[in-house]
Subunit: 116 residues, 2 copies
DNA sequence: TCTCGTAATGTATGTTTGAATATAACGATG
DNA sequence: CATCGTTATATTCAAACATACATTACGAGA
């Protein structure tokens, strides 16, 4: 079996996390639902917090990761921009490549992590 | 110039961080000084917290990362075990290999992270 | 047996973080 | 122009976390 979630990777930006597991998962849900509130609900996260994470990402990069509209037929919504999707793809590739590159060391470490 | 600290890597163990930047730095200082309290002082961390990090590491792995003696001529001390040193080496190699493996994606992301 | 510096543990306080709640702004649609 | 669900923001509360401080345990050496 493949060792599940041994490696956690974050992209640092001035002491904060510009991109990490949580923000990426949130982006996936937003892309899927077209809504911050629906994404938050599915992740059992407060809307407030989800919005803050989105805002943090938008302020970390030189172009928006998520754009939103307010009002309208269904109250508005949010979309992951092409740039945001590129980030998601890049992050997925980083996960894959790093896990592969560090496989030997991770295996060594995992051998000595306590089970249960 | 080499981009400084873009990638932050943690080794996860049952929801907690078994190994990360802070714990590794602490191990380096303990190895250097032979003392948890001296390491804590140099890192401007409370002794209490440093001890807790050491304890967390020792409980994460199947063998101790740091061993300590109490009392005696100089009050005691702490040493990083051979296993602990192996972990430090493995972590350093992970840092190097992952940064190299993900260089392209990191470069892309870094291009769009806000400067200042 | 007293001293010394460190390990180990307890306690209290303050700061940060997140959850919960409330409310306003918004604009397509009927 | 009233309704609707969502974005956006403010406020309050509780919990988690870190820090600071205090205390005890320990054992070699004077």
């Amino acid at each position: 079996m493949m060792q599940a979630e041994l490696l956690k990777i974050r992209i640092n930006h001035q002491g904060n996390t510009a991109l990490g597991p949580g923000k990426i998962e949130l982006l996936q849900h937003i892309a899927q639902h077209g809504s911050i509130s629906a994404a938050a609900k599915q992740m059992r996260m407060s809307y407030r917090r989800a919005w803050e994470l989105v805002d943090m990402m938008n302020r970390s990069f030189d172009q928006p990761v998520v754009v939103s509209t307010t009002g309208g037929a269904h109250g508005g919504g949010a979309q992951v921009t092409a740039f945001g999707q590129a980030l998601m793809l890049a992050y997925a590739q980083i996960l894959q490549k790093t896990a592969q590159a560090a496989a030997d060391e991770l295996h060594l470490i995992n051998q000595h992590l306590k089970k249960i």
